[in-house]
């Protein structure tokens, strides 16, 4: 723990002098039944709003041919704020929700979003995530992984995957859009989920 504090000392000091950080709620606080119910309610509301945004609005917001991936943004945020287990579970449920809402193949989106939620959570649990760039890095990495997995799955499902088109009209615009929306979506999620419980694993 001491080593951990030393590791991020410079950054923590600067943050504290410039703007006092809100106290992070200890994980134990969530162990009461009421807190768990509130937490589940917040996550469920976030899930429904995200599914509706993704299926009703996202297709209308087209920049360079790509649409923002609100589902991925939400899963990354939850992973970063609540850790790998909740991140993976949230990814699974939101994937099922999106597939139901657009009559898509059930299981395809959840497969991708479970991976994204899990690794976002692991990132928050194992790395120093105090930097403002954390959500951007996590969303960009998540977008790359999601697109690679989706392309692979579509190829296996015998759908066309023209590489040039996928790179220029899907990969690059999606990276740009999701990267731009990463910080706002993370901040909104953090506000909605009332800051964060500490997901960082104690160092050995």
């Amino acid at each position: 723990m001491a080593g951990d504090e030393m590791h991020g000392l410079g950054r923590v000091q600067v943050t504290r002098t410039a703007r006092p950080r809100r106290a992070v709620r200890p994980a134990a606080e969530l162990h009461s039944g009421r807190d768990i119910a509130i937490e589940l309610g917040r996550l469920a509301a976030m899930l429904i709003v995200t599914v509706l945004l993704q299926t009703v609005l996202a297709s209308h917001i087209r920049v360079l041919g790509a649409s923002p991936d609100f589902a991925l943004l939400a899963v990354v945020s939850v992973g970063l704020l609540r850790g790998s287990e909740i991140g993976a579970l949230f990814g699974f449920v939101i994937g099922v929700g999106v597939s139901i809402a657009v009559f898509g193949p059930l299981g395809l989106s959840s497969l991708v979003l479970v991976v994204i939620g899990y690794f976002s959570g692991r990132y928050a649990e194992t790395a120093d995530t105090t930097s403002g760039w954390t959500p951007v890095v996590a969303v960009l990495s998540g977008t790359v992984v999601a697109l690679l997995l989706s392309t692979l799955m579509q190829f296996l499902l015998e759908r066309q995957t023209p590489i040039g088109f996928v790179v220029t009209r899907v990969f690059l615009p999606s990276l740009l859009l999701n990267g731009l929306l990463a910080a706002p979506s993370y901040l909104l999620s953090r506000l909605w989920l009332r800051e964060g419980v500490s997901v960082r694993e104690p160092q050995a």
């Binding site: 009703v56 609005l57 087209r62 009559f103 059930l106 959840s110 479970v114 991976v115 759908r159």
Partner: protein, 279 residues
């Protein structure tokens, strides 16, 4: 404690991944009435009213966004349309010289404008609102707010207000339906080019382009000709629904068939209301 936690975490992720793969496998192996499809249909019953409500609420914002988008593309669109008009004028002048072709084109216009000639007697239309659409590049599908309780059946054709073919119903619940658009890469519709009635299959692609394949090489096809449904299919029996106009004709001497690029009559990005044709 940490080791047990790590083990539990890994087990959870593996279980979720296995569950996703199992659902995916079942989804593709089972019929439309299978358990996974039934779960999806039950979920859709809950979600479709929410989607409809959200769609209504978001309409002004969507219109504002579209207006801004149109503003940005207006200049390039203007230049492109000017070029297109010049080309079309040349084409029209050429066509006007031939009386036969002129009268055939006039007949075509009549067919497109007169819905009684396009759709057989007794055909009914069900008006539907687009409430959701897939954002993945691999799928071109929309969800509409009418379903089997409104009389819809699988493979019913869907047209827009100008009677241009939008796609076909490929999944149904009581209150909602999935429409696979013509631009979807798995979409294939029997079609013919008018007036010479050259037949082929119009297929979509991931890029959003539409082509008419399997057209006999002996058929002389030219840019600007109208493409309509042939009706020669078990699942789409209505003949003459307009699909688009010929944009380009592939000229590969080594191939058995011609491939014709089609410019659709429908703007698939701005679908708000559609009509389902009950066959």
């Amino acid at each position: 404690m940490n080791r047990r936690r790590a083990l539990w975490r890994r087990l959870l992720v593996v279980a979720l991944l296995v569950l996703s793969l199992a659902m995916l496998t079942l989804y593709f192996r089972e019929s439309e009435g299978g358990p996974v499809h039934r779960v999806q249909q039950a979920g859709m019953k809950v979600l479709s009213p929410l989607q409809y409500g959200t769609s209504r609420i978001a309409e002004p914002f969507r219109d504002a966004w579209n207006w801004v988008g149109d503003l940005f593309t207006a200049q390039s669109e203007n230049a492109r349309l000017r070029k297109e008009v010049a080309k079309l004028q040349a084409l029209t002048a050429q066509q006007a010289k031939e009386l036969q072709e002129y009268s055939e084109l006039r007949n075509l216009t009549d067919v497109m404008e007169d819905e009684d000639k396009v759709f057989p007697e007794g055909v009914e239309f069900v008006t539907a609102r687009v409430i959701a659409r897939s954002t993945e590049a691999w799928y071109s599908t929309v969800t509409i707010n009418v379903g089997s309780s409104d009389g819809l059946e699988l493979y019913d054709p869907v047209v827009n207000e100008q009677r241009g073919l939008v796609g076909r119903v490929t999944s149904l619940t009581g209150d909602a339906a999935k429409v696979t658009l013509l631009t979807d890469q798995k979409s294939a519709v029997g079609a013919e080019v008018l007036p010479n009635e050259a037949r082929g299959v119009v297929a979509g692609s991931m890029t959003g382009d539409m082509t008419m394949d399997l057209v006999d090489r002996s058929e002389k096809i030219e840019r600007g000709q109208v493409v309509v449904t042939s009706g020669a299919s078990k699942t789409l029996t209505v003949r003459g629904i307009p699909i688009g106009v010929v944009d380009d004709v592939g000229d590969q001497a080594v191939e058995l068939y011609q491939s014709v690029a089609i410019r659709p009559l429908v703007d698939f990005k701005k679908l708000e209301w559609v009509l389902v044709v009950r066959q």
